[in-house]
């Protein structure tokens, strides 16, 4: 095995890892804010890919240009999810909360299958196509752009949460809801903002992946599982942890596939998850 092949696997893993990181950041933000796990995260990713697909198929809008629309649609979807579902289960028992978002995932997937059939679709001849050759490493253009856009979105999210007034209020609400409420910070509004941003992240990732990924109703399942692993690995509630964890997962997936056996790619990732849960349950950057 040559060093070129390993380098290729590292680059591929890095690019995928940045996308995992952004998806996980959305999940982590929502969890950190209200301690509710969004088990429908994968379905929200699927929805954002379909949003990109339909905007292309019906209006001829290339995924690159429809990204802002997809983000807005997903943010809106987040607000609706909070308003019609989450708000009623905030004080409920954990099992009820799990059933609610898990039920939502089944609901969304079933409706999607009903409306759009389980067929595989893809965006034909997007603007971003082909690959670059740098030295001996091949980099798919849509993959490269997708990972860079996700990285930019991630940095934007991080700056928003740590530097802006609304971001601080989100953190305050996450750390002590009643203390924040008493200072005048309306927690219900903060929760809605959290959902909007969380699903907005998924909108960026899904919209960009629509360029090169097959789009079908079950597409989100593996991504959501990876996002859970990333959140656990990075540490619950830590956004920066998601970045490192996403990259680690991307690298393990591609290097494990290369060095051991590609058919067990998922296995390596979940093996890390088990190791983390056993040896460092608070994750790399966790507070809990």
């Amino acid at each position: 095995m040559t060093s070129e092949i390993i380098l290729q696997a590292i680059v591929t893993g890095l690019m995928m890892g940045l996308i995992y990181a952004l998806i996980a950041a959305g999940l982590s933000l929502i969890f950190g804010l209200m301690e509710i796990v969004n088990f429908a995260h994968g379905e929200h990713l699927m929805l954002s890919m379909f949003s990109s697909f339909w905007l292309w198929s019906l209006f001829g809008l290339d995924p690159i240009f429809s990204i802002p629309i997809t983000i807005l649609l997903m943010a809106f979807c987040g607000v609706i999810t909070h308003y019609f579902l989450i708000r009623y289960i905030l004080k409920a028992k954990m099992l009820i909360q799990i059933c609610a978002t898990f039920g939502l995932s089944i609901f969304i997937r079933s409706i999607a299958q009903l409306l759009w059939t389980p067929d595989f679709r893809n965006v034909d001849k997007p603007l971003l196509e082909g690959r670059l050759e740098i030295g001996s490493v091949f980099i798919g253009q849509p993959q490269l752009v997708a990972s860079l856009v996700c990285l930019v979105a991630f940095i934007g999210l991080y700056l928003f949460v740590t530097k802006t007034e609304t971001g601080l209020a989100l953190q305050a609400t996450a750390q002590d809801r009643h203390a924040a409420e008493i200072l005048g910070i309306p927690s219900n509004k903060m929760f809605a903002i959290g959902w909007a941003i969380g699903l907005g992240c998924v909108g960026v990732a899904g919209g960009m992946m629509a360029n090169y990924f097959f789009i079908f109703t079950d597409v989100g399942i593996n991504f959501a599982l990876f996002a859970f692993v990333a959140v656990a690995l990075g540490g619950f509630g830590s956004i920066i942890g998601c970045l490192y964890a996403g990259i680690i997962i991307g690298l393990v997936e591609s290097l494990g596939g290369l060095l051991i056996d590609p058919s067990f790619k998922l296995l390596y990732v979940f093996a890390i998850y088990l190791l983390v849960v056993i040896y460092r349950p608070q994750g790399l950057f966790g507070r809990y």
């Binding site: 209020a169 750390q175 203390a179 008493i182």
Partner: protein
């Protein structure tokens, strides 16, 4: 009258914890809410903040009925509540904690003004302004919690067990700070278990037992009152 609580009942589910309690606070007055553990002192503050809803009776603030005003809108009216056990945001800095205290537009406008004022009262907070709140001592966190409450420009500052776990030195500082705050025309309603300490600083006191008001009056009249001793020491 700044705060006027009239004949309120409070229930947790169907378990009644406050029975027909009336309390009032005038402008620039320091009022102590006394009583043993579980007598409902904190519940009363939480009711004024609407963290708990009351049944029957009414709560007026500045002559307006506020019984249905949601919690997050009350700071704007001039009610600041410092919760029991400080409840600062542990993973935010002192400065960030303080600036979140000035959330409503009027307070935000005054942010830099309030900050310099707060730093004069609590010089330690200025030194530590970039430190995470969780890395500070209990006393410093209590100061931060009170300072954060002051950032909302309150007319009424409610403080729940301000002296809990503080060293005598810090306690002395805090008493001085409370007197300063009151001298600026801000009212303070605080909860305390130490009767002597509370009555030595407050203008008036209310004594609660098992959710019912037992006696109230001027501090001097309460301090050696037999009824008060009975509540705390039994027969």
């Amino acid at each position: 009258m700044l705060l006027d609580i009239k004949n309120i009942d409070v229930l947790y589910d169907d378990f009644q914890v406050i029975w027909d309690v009336s309390i009032n606070v005038n402008k620039g007055e320091m009022v102590a809410l006394l009583g043993p553990n579980g007598s409902g002192k904190s519940t009363i503050l939480n009711t004024v903040s609407n963290l708990v809803h009351h049944k029957n009776g009414s709560i007026h603030f500045n002559n307006t009925l506020i019984s249905d005003v949601p919690t997050h809108k009350r700071t704007e009216l001039g009610i600041s509540h410092v919760l029991e056990r400080r409840r600062v945001f542990p993973h935010l800095t002192v400065m960030q904690n303080l600036s979140l205290g000035a959330w409503h537009p009027k307070a935000k406008e005054q942010l830099s003004n309030s900050l310099s004022k707060i730093y004069k009262i609590f010089p330690k907070l200025e030194v530590r302004s970039n430190q995470l709140a969780r890395t500070m001592s209990g006393g410093e966190q209590q100061m931060l919690a009170i300072a954060r409450g002051m950032m909302g420009l309150p007319k009424l500052l409610m403080v729940d067990e301000p002296f809990l776990g503080l060293s005598p030195m810090v306690m002395k500082d805090l008493i001085k700070i409370f007197k300063n705050i009151v001298s600026e025309g801000i009212s303070i309603l605080f909860v305390e278990q130490n009767v002597r300490l509370a009555l030595s600083m407050a203008d008036r006191g209310y004594v609660l037992e098992s959710g019912r008001l037992v006696i109230d009056g001027k501090s001097n009249d309460l301090i050696d009152n037999k009824k008060v001793t009975k509540v705390f020491l039994g027969n």
